[in-house]
């Protein structure tokens, strides 16, 4: 146990290093942006009325000071690190002085909810079907499914999402095609609200599942078709162990370890993967916020999203590394 803790601690230090480096890279990248939030606001405001050059100059000065953009980059970097320690990412420049974190937290639950659920769903369905397809290699049904999976996999996500809208919102309008929940319910833990959330999530989630399924399916099928040639599978078959048990405890259980690692990485990708979903289904989420923040030069929000992504992905990898030895008793972590 003590050794495990030492290992975990070491691994944790590495996590910190990765997070620190990743966030620093994100900081400098986001400040590389050629878009000035000050000019963005000047452009918007001065369009409202006749602004003289002097008025523009004074507004520019006011905003630059307000946004803290008048200090040199390295100083800003250390300020940023200092604030980061207390979890403060500073005010958003797109919605000054609302904290960037507040804007992000508004969108985050939706993104995480939709993507985590659909990613896990995709992972489960894809792996189960892929596992079965790898095991029952002669099944017509599963073979057909394989062909479909390969066919759907390369279709751009945008097309799939839009087809969902057209089919279920237009040709056969049975499901809501926009929003996170209906306008006539209040956010709460009431059944109405939850049902509404679920109904609104069906199409976005389904489109994500359809697009993602193929990858997991094919990956798992390939893994399993290797595992079924292993002696312990053959031996269990010869011993007359039930098929169900062989598939679950012998085949899929052994394929799980690499697939879990891949899942952790896929979960990491969800932070930038939602923009199309949000656009097509008018679904709340980080993607739109992120694009608009980049667009407006709001480095604080870009940075907040990037930090969360970096932390989440690095943590996911860290956790997978931690549970790896528990999942696969053979692993001797170094």
């Amino acid at each position: 146990m003590k050794d495990y803790l030492t290992f975990a601690l070491k691994r944790f230090l590495q996590l910190l290093a990765v997070v620190f480096t990743g966030i620093s890279v994100a900081f400098f990248v986001s400040y590389l942006s050629p878009i000035s939030p000050v000019e963005t606001i000047i452009g918007r405001v001065s369009g409202q009325s006749a602004y003289s050059p002097q008025a523009i100059a004074s507004l520019r000065e006011t905003l630059t000071e307000l946004f803290g953009l008048n200090v040199p980059l390295h100083e800003r970097y250390f300020n940023f690190l200092g604030r980061l320690l207390v979890g403060d990412l500073g005010p958003s420049l797109l919605a000054f002085p609302t904290p960037a974190m507040k804007l992000v937290m508004l969108a985050l639950p939706w993104t995480v909810g939709l993507l985590a659920v659909s990613t896990i769903l995709t992972w489960l369905i894809g792996n189960i079907l892929g596992g079965l397809a790898g095991y029952y290699q002669n099944s017509r049904l599963l073979k057909a499914f394989g062909v479909i999976a390969i066919g759907i996999q390369p279709i751009p996500y945008y097309i799939v999402a839009f087809l969902m809208v057209i089919i279920f919102g237009f040709l056969w309008p049975v499901l809501p095609i926009s929003g996170g929940f209906a306008m006539n319910v209040r956010p709460s833990w009431s059944p109405e609200f939850i049902v509404s959330i679920l109904r609104h999530a069906i199409l976005p989630a389904a489109s994500l599942v359809i697009v993602g399924l193929g990858t997991w399916f094919l990956g798992m099928r390939a893994l399993v078709s290797n595992i079924v040639t292993e002696d312990y599978v053959t031996y269990a078959e010869l011993a007359g162990v039930e098929r169900r048990r062989i598939v679950s405890s012998y085949v899929i259980r052994n394929a799980m370890v690499p697939q879990l690692t891949a899942l952790a990485m896929a979960l990491g990708g969800i932070f930038s993967g939602t923009i199309i979903t949000e656009q097509v289904f008018a679904y709340p989420g980080l993607g739109t916020l992120l694009v608009r923040a980049v667009n407006a030069g709001d480095s604080a929000v870009v940075l907040a999203v990037s930090c969360i992504a970096v932390i989440a992905v690095a943590t996911a990898i860290f956790l997978i590394d931690l549970i790896h030895p528990l999942l696969d008793p053979r692993i001797k972590a170094q």
Binding site: P37, I42, S49, P53, A55, A95, G169, M183, N295
Partner: protein, 614 residues
């Protein structure tokens, strides 16, 4: 909010009492923020806030208006200036209540102006500080402004075309310590609606009609029909169409031209501004080719004219709007009351206009271009295309320059250009080539691409660059050679050109590399222009002399061709008459702009009646 969460009310919005409007903007970044007086705090405006809740002194409609384009809103009457335009007095309406029951008085107006003058970084801080010497409430219903310098257009700050300086509730804001950090949630307004609820993620806002709607300025024009008004942000234009066909949306801000044609085909009860082709509502803005006059390539007017004469307006109309463009050869958008004031009266002058190509004089104007375009689209759209010549002129435009490659050649040669093979060379011996920055998408992009292509075919290497930052940095910073965008926007409902023209004064032209204030993006200086502007400044807004000055401006623009005006910016707004009737139409009742993010769209609500169709 806690209590609400405990017992969630299952609100219903009966469809026959609810109007659902498309908010063209993306979902609100900062949905809880309603303090729209602060610059850059992420407050959304077009979500119903400035249309339904806020109010100010006057409105000037881009279209005909209910009884004239000028509305006295919170003001009882029009502005009163003193002799030399250094003071302005406003009489306010009495008996107007804020939505929390407080009475609206002159103190609110004074507070609005003074607060913004004291607090830099608010939306109107700069103009107030620049113009206002002092402001005082003479009595509860009279406000008196003292100006720093003569300004005959000071009232325009409080005159809404699509928005203006909204009045702040003093009794709320004076309690607030830091105005710039205040979220103004829930908003307290002077409009007939109050906030009912909104999406925590900013996709929709629901507004409910005030019990005391008759205590608002809008009551003068009638009771707003819908009990609830919902503003929905729908990023995908195609989804807007689907929502409307499904009956989930009553007004669409904008569709693609193709989407509009398809909507009309699919739904009997949906329509646009025009009853038939081209459907779209022409905004009082004028898409054009803007030359950067600080770039030496465009300093010779013969070159600019040559470029104009190389264009085929019909092809541009087809490429950009599938023919649904309202063309304008002159620097005035062919919208609202302008055709009556400008296009029709100047038609003969244009027809007779002569241009010296260097080797001969030609009459470049072709008054039949609109008719030709109508003929071109008729095979596809049949009866949807008007046949009446007058209707064709309002819809397709009064005419444009005729494509005349020969004349263009003569002009370029006169300017010292030479043609080598199919490539024009500049007098300095370099090939004549430039980049044309254009919008990233939509009709202006299509227009830019087509114009660049036409010039390229004539031997000028023009590449169209899709530019997402065209208004943010490209035009203001002058980082372009030529662009398709607009630097002319007008009131629409009034012949006065001060809306954009004042900013064209040579005093405002920035040095290369500096930021140019709105809207003289072309950075064009002309002494004659300055004369016109200076005279406008001394002429009262309602003075007929303004129209004459406008005509002079138009003629100067034709003469100099500093920009090539192309057409009005037509917005494919659509509405659905399944639940509501009484929307404005181009042919019968053009009382308001149907473009939903304009604050003026609130007048539509007073005209709406439920269809009662089940």
């Amino acid at each position: 909010q806690e209590e609400e969460a405990a017992a969630p009310p299952l609100n219903e919005f009966p469809r026959e009492e609810t109007l659902i409007i498309n908010n063209p903007e993306p979902p609100a970044i900062n949905p809880d923020m309603f303090n729209m007086w602060v610059a850059g705090n992420g407050a959304a405006w077009s979500n119903g806030l400035h249309q339904l809740v806020l109010d100010t002194l006057w409105f000037i409609d881009p279209d005909a208006g209910l009884d004239g384009a000028l509305y006295n809103q919170l003001a009882k009457d029009v502005w009163q200036y003193n002799e030399d335009f250094t003071e302005m007095t406003v009489q306010l309406r009495e008996g107007i209540l804020w939505s929390d029951g407080e009475e609206f008085t002159a103190d609110d107006v004074v507070f609005t102006v003074e607060t913004q003058m004291e607090t830099p970084g608010m939306v109107w801080s700069a103009p107030f500080s620049q113009y206002v010497e002092s402001v005082e409430a003479v009595d509860d219903y009279t406000v008196h402004f003292k100006l720093k310098e003569p300004n005959s257009r000071f009232h325009s700050i409080f005159s809404v075309r699509w928005n203006g300086a909204w009045i702040m509730p003093e009794h709320i804001f004076s309690e607030v310590e830091d105005v710039t950090a205040f979220d103004f949630n829930p908003p307290v307004g002077l409009g007939p609606y109050t906030l009912h609820s909104y999406d925590p993620n900013g996709y929709w806002y629901i507004w409910e009609k005030r019990e005391d709607w008759d205590k608002t300025a809008l009551a003068e024009w009638g009771e707003p029909g819908p009990k609830y008004v919902i503003y929905r942000s729908i990023p995908s234009t195609d989804s807007r169409l689907i929502d409307m066909v499904n009956g989930d949306l009553d007004m669409i801000h904008d569709l693609t031209p193709e989407g509009m044609f398809s909507l009309i085909k699919q739904s009997e009860i949906s329509r646009g501004w025009f009853p038939g082709f081209p459907y779209a509502h022409p905004d009082p803005t004028l898409p054009m080719v803007i030359f950067n006059h600080q770039n030496e390539k465009f300093q010779d007017k013969r070159v600019r004219w040559a470029l104009a004469l190389m264009l085929d307006a019909r092809a541009i109309s087809m490429a950009s709007y599938r023919g649904a463009a309202t063309l304008s050869a002159i620097a005035i958008p062919p919208t609202g009351t302008h055709p009556r004031d400008y296009h029709a009266p100047l038609q003969d002058w244009l027809i007779d206009y002569e241009l010296d190509t260097g080797s001969r004089t030609i009459k470049p104007y072709d008054p039949t271009i609109g008719l030709q375009v109508a003929d071109m689209v008729r095979p596809q759209f049949g009866e949807e295309v008007p046949t009446d010549e007058e209707a064709i002129r309002t819809a397709f435009g009064y005419g444009w320059w005729k494509q005349d490659v020969e004349a263009a050649t003569e002009l370029l040669e006169a300017a010292g250009f030479t043609k080598q093979g199919n490539q024009w060379m500049m007098p300095n011996g370099e090939p004549f080539a430039f980049t044309l920055n254009t919008f990233q998408e939509g009709v202006i992009n299509r227009m830019g691409t087509m114009i660049a292509q036409q010039w390229s075919q004539q031997g000028i290497q023009v590449t169209a660059e899709a530019d997402p930052e065209i208004y943010r940095s490209t035009l203001p910073l002058g980082q372009y050679e030529a662009a398709t965008a607009w630097s002319i926007e007008t009131w629409g409902g009034d012949p006065d050109l001060s809306f954009f023209l004042d900013s064209w004064h040579s005093d405002y032209v920035a040095e290369p590399g500096e930021r140019q204030p709105h809207r003289n993006w072309q950075r064009w200086k002309n002494p004659k222009l300055d004369e016109i502007i200076e005279e406008v400044r001394k002429t009262e807004f309602t003075d007929p002399r303004n129209l004459e000055l406008g005509h002079e401006f138009v003629k100067l623009m034709v003469e100099e061709m500093p920009v090539i005006p192309v057409m009005s910016f037509n917005v494919f707004s659509a509405y659905d008459t399944r639940y509501w009737t009484g929307f404005p139409t181009a042919e019968e009742n053009p009382y308001a702009n149907i473009v939903t993010n304009w604050a003026n769209s609130k007048y539509i609500l007073t005209q709406l009646k439920p269809t009662k169709q089940q």
